[in-house]
């Protein structure tokens, strides 16, 4: 039913991160409409908003977990999924798209068994379909972390991913 992507990657938050979050929440608690900045701070600290973090926010802000979750799933700036060790970004700009970027996404989904916007359970790969990254001459383009792959063919995907396994 749900189109909301939930993560299965185990939570690896540290005590330092939690201390940082608590410091931020102590300020947000007394703000009108403090839930938004609370979620923004949490995402800055953890990179995403897993249930463990949303629970802390709910408790500290004196609202229910569902109220936190409702806001977190309303705004597209928030993500419930962590970034993988290797972040695969596939450009879906016009040039890349007409050159078959969609098929690249499909191939990655098939191999990694995740949807766009998700992260593999081992935390290794995450997949996003991005807007134009500005090198249309290389279309279709994907990046994995800092590395740029241009003029990609679907047949290259398995080998490229293998390099990161």
């Amino acid at each position: 039913m749900s189109k909301i992507k939930l993560t299965k990657v185990p939570f690896k938050g540290t005590a330092e991160q939690e201390a940082q979050l608590m410091e931020k929440l102590a300020v947000c608690k007394n703000m009108k409409g403090g839930l938004m900045p609370a979620l923004q701070s949490a995402q800055e600290i953890y990179g995403y908003l897993p249930i463990e973090v949303q629970r802390i926010i709910a408790k500290e802000m004196g609202v229910s977990l569902e109220e936190v979750f409702g806001v977190a799933t309303f705004y597209s700036q928030f993500t419930l999924n962590p970034q993988g060790k290797y972040q695969i970004s596939i450009c879906m700009g016009t040039a890349c798209y007409v050159k078959g970027a969609g098929e690249l996404v499909d191939k990655c989904k098939e191999i990694l068994k995740i949807d766009a916007g998700e992260c593999t359970e081992d935390g290794k790969f995450s997949l996003v379909a991005t807007r134009c990254i500005g090198c249309c001459g290389l279309a279709p383009v994907a990046t994995i972390n800092e590395h740029v792959y241009g003029k990609l063919a679907v047949s290259q995907i398995p080998d490229i991913l293998k390099n990161y396994q």
Binding site: I4, I51, S64, E67, F74
Partner: protein, 584 residues
């Protein structure tokens, strides 16, 4: 400071209203009804559905009348609630809602009692006008008490408001955004996996069939048809003052006699009255209170009749578990007595007895499945149905309810006092308890049986009573948001009550999550809970047996079976335990 009056014209009719009044309220004052969908007085004024739009002179676009305040800038302006532009807009809005709505109306539990259906008819909508993408949802059937089918949801958020504003629970809310928006729980959990208290108030405010109780009527029919079973029906106090509404009686009509007749016609072997075990509860709970008072027991003692309240404490305030009375609820006591004392009297194996409770409550469906509610080694209650389900059964069997003669409950467990009856309204358990505890302590009759201090639909009530040379401080709350406020006061040492009565639903069981569903228009303009409660108090007033300890069946039960209140045997059969539950 006096509020400034503003003059406007609505559909040409001059109206003068205090500054800040919404157009919706001003129109009502002028006798003009504006249709609404998402609006619910006091809890949900969000201007989301756009059904209540009106045209305001000089305004750039149509405005939502439920949230549009009339201020100085509106002085002398014209407002139109029925112009072609308005009517067209409302029609389009409802048609768009219908475009993503499961329109299997003929098979819907809310057919002919659906606010969307009514709007569609009144506005002359073509439900097939817009065909486009539709969401597909799987119903949430995870709980024993409620079904959510989002394919019928209109996203009015009335359930969300009820959950948060009435009950301070907020386990449901809008998830995701835009076309993907749906009402659900945090992290898309099933309702069974969150701290839902099962009160069913969300069902009562739902305009459509997106929320309903889990229907157990087929189980009832199967039990009655099984000739090897002795099937007992037992009805809660509030059912008799709600059921009539399903058959066209005015709100606040006591239809006890017809209800009993209908149940007998259906083929129940006995029709008993849960008021009777409410009387028994008073003896057990009153004695427990006296013991706590004289033995330095945990105080304040909290009542334990309302299963959603129990679940609330277990999830959210487990530190108060020792304060909860260990008494089973009247429903569970009824089942327990039927399967012990009464089974022995009948000479029947309790396994051959089926007890069907009829309740104004959805949480009773949860309660019957709790641990430690099996006095005879099998569940005390087999099937718990709501007032609405009873009405459904009556209709299904072709019983012409309005033409039925009156009958009386069966002996022995159908004999009850007015004190048992008032359990249905907020303050009723307290009043019933005081009627008995006072007489035990003072050893003289209580002169005025009407304890008005604990009556009425106010969310929190306080009183103190001098009994046995001691001032007993009591408090009463209904609606869990009010209960929470009271618990916080106790927790912070700001209150020193001895005894607190809590009913989960605002106004008590008369307004329970299993009672007949009234439209938003009725909810907004009538005090439904007060009307139903009045029927209960009027009936109590007219009774000669008004004190639980004077109930002859209660006396007989103690003489021949339990010995005395809180005896070892009474503890085994009539008391229970509670567990700490997760707060998700």
């Amino acid at each position: 400071m006096e509020t400034k009056m503003i003059n406007v014209k609505i559909n040409g009719k001059p109206v003068s209203v205090p500054k800040g009044t919404t157009i919706l309220d001003a129109a009502r004052q002028a006798g003009i009804k504006i249709p609404t969908l998402c609006y619910l007085r006091d809890i949900n004024a969000i201007g989301a559905c756009r059904v209540c739009v009106v045209e305001v002179q000089g305004a750039r676009s149509l405005v939502a009348s439920c949230v549009f305040p009339i201020d100085e800038s509106m002085e002398g302006k014209e407002i139109y609630t029925n112009s072609p532009k308005v009517l067209e807009s409302r029609k389009t809005t409802v048609e768009l809602i219908l475009s993503d709505h499961n329109k299997n109306c003929l098979s819907c539990v809310r057919n002919l009692n659906c606010e969307l259906q009514t709007l569609s008819n009144e506005l002359g909508c073509n439900a097939a006008n817009y065909t486009g993408a539709m969401n597909s949802y799987k119903p949430d059937v995870s709980t024993a008490y409620l079904v959510r089918d989002n394919s019928k949801c209109v996203l009015c958020r009335r359930c969300v408001a009820a959950c948060k504003q009435y009950q301070a629970v907020a386990v449901i809310g809008p998830n995701a955004r835009g076309f993907d928006t749906h009402i659900g729980c945090a992290f898309e959990s099933d309702l069974n996996n969150v701290s839902c208290v099962a009160c069913g108030q969300c069902i009562n405010v739902c305009p459509t069939g997106a929320l309903r109780e889990k229907d157990d009527t087929d189980e009832v029919l199967a039990a009655i048809a099984d000739k090897s079973k002795y099937v007992i029906a037992a009805t809660a106090p509030s059912v008799r003052v709600g059921l009539g509404e399903e058959f066209g009686y005015p709100i606040g009509t006591n239809v006890e006699g017809k209800m009993v007749t209908a149940l007998k016609m259906m083929g129940f072997d006995d029709v008993f009255d849960v008021n009777m075990t409410a009387d028994l509860t008073i003896l057990e709970e009153g004695t427990e209170l006296l013991n706590r008072l004289s033995n330095n027991g945990k105080l304040p003692m909290l009542t334990s009749c309302s299963p959603a309240w129990i679940k609330f404490v277990e999830h959210y305030y487990p530190e108060f578990i020792p304060n909860l009375s260990s008494c089973k609820s009247p429903q569970q006591m009824m089942g327990a007595v039927c399967k012990t004392y009464y089974a022995e009297k009948l000479g029947k194996d309790p396994k051959d007895i089926v007890v069907v409770s009829v309740m104004p409550c959805t949480a009773k469906k949860f309660e019957k499945g709790r641990d430690d509610q099996s006095a005879a080694g099998i569940p005390d209650i087999d099937i718990a149905i709501t007032t609405r389900e009873l009405a459904r059964l009556i209709r299904k069997q072709g019983i012409d309810f309005r033409s039925l003669p009156d009958s009386q409950f069966d002996a022995p467990l159908g004999i009850a006092s007015g004190a048992g009856l008032i359990f249905g309204a907020t303050g009723g358990v307290m009043e019933a308890a005081i009627r008995t505890v006072y007489e035990i302590l003072e050893r003289k009759p209580l002169e005025d049986l009407d304890l008005v201090a604990v009556r009425g639909t106010k969310g929190i009530k306080e009183a103190s009573v001098n009994m046995g040379g001691k001032e007993i401080k009591v408090a009463v709350a209904s609606g869990l948001a009010n209960a929470k406020e009271l618990l916080e006061k106790v927790k912070n040492g700001e209150a020193d009550y001895h005894f607190i009565e809590i009913m989960s639903c605002p106004g008590g069981c008369v307004n329970g999550g299993g009672q007949p569903i009234r439209t938003a228009d009725e909810r907004n303009n009538l005090d439904i809970k007060a009307l139903r409660a009045k029927a209960i108090y009027d009936t109590d007033k007219a009774m000669s047996l008004r004190k639980s300890h004077e109930n002859p069946v209660v006396k007989e039960l103690y003489e021949s079976y339990f010995g005395k209140p809180n005896s070892h045997k009474a503890h085994e059969i009539l008391h229970t335990k509670y567990v700490k539950r997760d707060n998700y």
